[in-house]
């Protein structure tokens, strides 16, 4: 080896050794979780002013014009300069966003003063556990919390400490979306099926009428909160254990899986993909589906006739129920302008314009009773909303913890695929789900 090369190799080795020694130093651990200091509930509110960095998940920026909401807000408070910051790739990269907030918190910084887009069963559990976001209980007046629908209020409380970390804004509620014309042709009636037995019977008629051209029923069967949970909720009021884990011991769990096996033959082949059934509905190849209300808008945007896309309450089992989730707003611990963030939440996001843009305009439910009353009184309440709102107080939400998406959902996906695609028995599927979830949750805790 030449002399110069020897020197180069030697220098590289020295650098690598130095780096290895340096990197062996323990990483500066983030500050342990502790209750952030919140202003006293009785303290006089500070007038909001200054710059407000509003981080919004990219997909929501595409759905409504946030600039209009900001303009309407500034008419009430011109002293706050709102900067809208798009956060791309959030659905696939929520863990990246959590890491970003974590790393910034180590330097006592935050890129956003408020983060709009987290859903309680996704990011907030992890962020709350790490102490990276502020609880909102005492930062927002009690009267505002009293105005939130009961189920949503339960949803936004982190199971770890019972505090609220998410200001709710857009709720998605499961219902039955259907094509009246297809039902009329197949069954003789435009009326949708109202319970699971009727759905099974309708599927048979759809198949007889349309063959393989139109499928009877659609759902994301390998997503826990888009299939098993909402169905199971119509058979039991004990959807979750005290730990916030799916109650696999309840007889309704077995009944639900058995029902899903009966429903599967009527599902379109694309139902294995996320929103695969929705795509089938949007292309006119599906008669009924269980999804949240925004899928009605997607079908209309996909050029399905608006008059022929309807939404009704979720099918019944032994009880009426549904499943929902609510995206909202969080305040990072090191946000620079928390007063403006709170002000914008209360005056900007709940402004009548924002409510109209959200609900009639974008098919997203704003889960505040006063907002719903205003929509009703002004005649702008969409027809699909009342059946869904009726269940928002009584339906069981998905708990806000850090293991629903990281433990329960992946395990459910694997086991339900084995049950549906490789004929694993219902009993073994339930047993595996229960054991694996218990082990996974214990590791997380």
């Amino acid at each position: 080896m030449s002399h110069v090369r020897k020197i180069f190799v030697l220098v590289m080795l020295i650098i690598i050794c130095v780096l290895a020694i340096v990197s062996c130093a323990p990483a500066p651990a983030p500050e342990p979780t502790k209750a952030p200091t919140a202003p006293a509930a009785t303290a006089a509110p500070v007038a909001a002013k200054g710059k407000l960095r509003l981080g919004v998940y990219g997909q929501y920026l595409q759905q409504i014009e946030f600039k209009d909401i900001v303009t309407a807000y500034n008419k009430q408070n011109p002293n706050v300069q709102v900067e809208i910051i798009a956060i791309p790739g959030e659905e696939q990269a929520w863990n990246v966003i959590a890491q970003k907030i974590q790393l910034e918190a180590q330097q006592k910084k935050a890129s956003w003063d408020m983060l709009l887009g987290p859903t309680p069963f996704i990011e907030p559990g992890a962020l709350a556990k790490l102490g990276l976001v502020d609880p909102l209980d005492t930062l927002i007046p009690k009267s505002v919390w009293d105005d939130v629908y009961g189920g949503v209020l339960k949803e936004i409380k982190y199971t770890g400490d019972g505090k609220i970390y998410t200001f709710p804004w857009w709720s998605d509620v499961f219902g039955l979306i259907y094509r009246p014309s297809m039902l009329k042709e197949a069954t003789g009636s435009e009326n949708p099926p109202t319970n699971w037995d009727e759905i099974l019977a309708t599927n048979v008629k759809i198949k007889a009428k349309y063959g393989d051209k139109v499928y009877g029923f659609g759902m994301d069967w390998n997503w826990l909160h888009r299939s098993m949970l909402p169905i199971m909720g119509t058979m039991t009021d004990k959807l979750f254990t005290a730990d916030g884990v799916v109650n696999f011991d309840d007889p309704a769990a077995k009944q639900t899986l058995e029902l899903m096996l009966k429903l599967y033959p009527s599902l379109p082949p694309s139902s294995a993909e996320a929103l695969g059934s929705a795509k089938a509905f949007q292309s006119g190849a599906l008669a009924t589906e269980i999804y949240w209300q925004a899928q009605v808008l997607r079908a209309i945007q996909a050029k399905q006739p608006e008059a022929d896309v309807k939404l009704v309450g979720f099918p019944k089992g032994t009880r009426s129920s549904t499943l929902f989730w609510t995206l909202g707003v969080m305040i990072p611990k090191y946000a620079e302008n928390k007063e403006a963030a709170i002000d914008f939440m209360l005056k900007g996001l709940l402004d009548p314009l924002a409510v109209e843009m959200s609900q009639p305009g974008n098919y997203k439910i704003v889960p505040f009773k006063s907002a719903q009353k205003k929509l009703q009184d002004s005649g702008k309440q969409p027809a699909w909303a009342p059946p869904l709102l009726a269940l928002l107080d009584t339906s069981e939400p998905i708990p806000c913890n850090q293991y629903f998406l990281t433990v329960e959902q992946p395990i459910y996906k694997e086991e339900i695929e084995k049950m549906i695609l490789t004929n694993q028995s219902v009993e073994l599927t339930l047993k595996n789900m229960k054991e694996r979830v218990a082990k996974g949750v214990a590791e997380v805790k």
Partner: protein, 312 residues
């Protein structure tokens, strides 16, 4: 009369520092690249190796501690290691020969095209998928593989009237991995083709002519002249394609490792351990990645030794 030179004899440097000083300009030019290499390759690699010996869970920063070889022992006993490595190996064994053979055929055909303009057009067409954004391709291929509206099923069933034993592609555990292989071959074949074209352009034309004169047909020409002279290219391709053992992006975006874990590759499982499951066990996930790196390096080294012996 002896020719006399006037240049001074070159003296070898006697001292290390003197040697560095003499090459100072070269080192200065190297410095920026070295900085980036150290910052974005050496340091993260060293850090990953360090994490391998730590209990490091992102959602439990209060539990960071040195655990020695515990992660490695757990890795060695984890049944998912062998299961997912098997998936990655099956993918590799389908993808590497498939893409290599197709790329070689296309390169040989392109090499025979006389008109440079025509050759250029086809080269561009075949290389085009390589430069397209990967995310866009994943979405496009999800539609291509769609069991109801996808053009692939439409082509076979409605146009060619070929009875298909399977139609669900990405939604069928028997065909999901094959679907990813097909997409990957289509996507990256152009890059392999370019390597073969470079190799083919380095084969002296006289050898082909001499073989023709000796009566060799096309197959004999390929087997006894072209392929042996392309051996270095095969070596490069083998080393480059070893990276598919750590495949993550395709199964992550198209199948999430399903259905029934049929596309849960080693790399994807490691990714989920690190960034999705439980408390995000970055220490344990680092173990998975480091072990894969060691294995890949070993395979690359052995393959290089074997190819080199054949080339020599």
């Amino acid at each position: 009369m002896a020719v006399q030179t006037t240049s001074a004899p070159i003296r070898k440097p006697r001292h290390l520092l003197q040697s560095i000083w003499r090459g100072r300009v070269g080192y200065l030019f190297l410095a920026p690249l070295l900085f980036f290499y150290i910052t974005f390759v050496i340091y993260p690699s060293a850090r990953t190796i360090w994490m391998m010996f730590m209990r490091y869970e992102f959602l439990r920063p209060d539990r960071i501690e040195f655990v020695g070889l515990a992660n490695i022992i757990e890795w060695a006993q984890d049944p998912r290691v062998w299961e997912t490595f098997g998936v990655a190996l099956r993918f590799t064994l389908m993808y590497v020969p498939g893409s290599t053979v197709i790329a070689l055929l296309v390169a040989i055909l392109l090499d025979r095209v006389r008109h440079p303009g025509v050759a250029s057009v086809f080269r561009t067409l075949y290389y085009f998928p390589v430069v397209l954004p990967a995310g866009m391709l994943y979405i496009a291929w999800q539609w291509i593989f769609d069991p109801t509206w996808g053009p692939l099923n439409h082509l076979f069933i409605n146009i060619l009237h070929i009875p298909m034993p399977w139609t669900r592609w990405l939604g069928d555990p028997n065909t999901s991995l094959l679907a990813l292989v097909i997409m990957s071959i289509w996507r990256l074949m152009g890059a392999t083709m370019i390597l073969f074209l470079v190799g083919l352009s380095n084969i002296p034309q006289e050898l082909n002519e001499a073989a023709h004169i000796d009566g060799a047909n096309e197959w004999q020409l390929l087997r006894h002249v072209t392929l042996p002279l392309l051996a270095p290219i095969f070596l490069v391709i083998m080393v480059l394609r070893l990276q598919v053992l750590g495949l993550i992006a395709e199964p992550l975006f198209m199948t999430e490792g399903g259905p029934v874990r049929s596309t849960m590759t080693y790399g994807l499982q490691a990714y989920y351990i690190t960034f999705r499951d439980g408390n995000w066990r970055m220490g344990y996930g680092a173990t998975w990645f480091v072990m894969l790196s060691i294995f890949s390096t070993l395979v690359a080294f052995l393959g290089w030794r074997w190819f080199r012996s054949r080339i020599d």
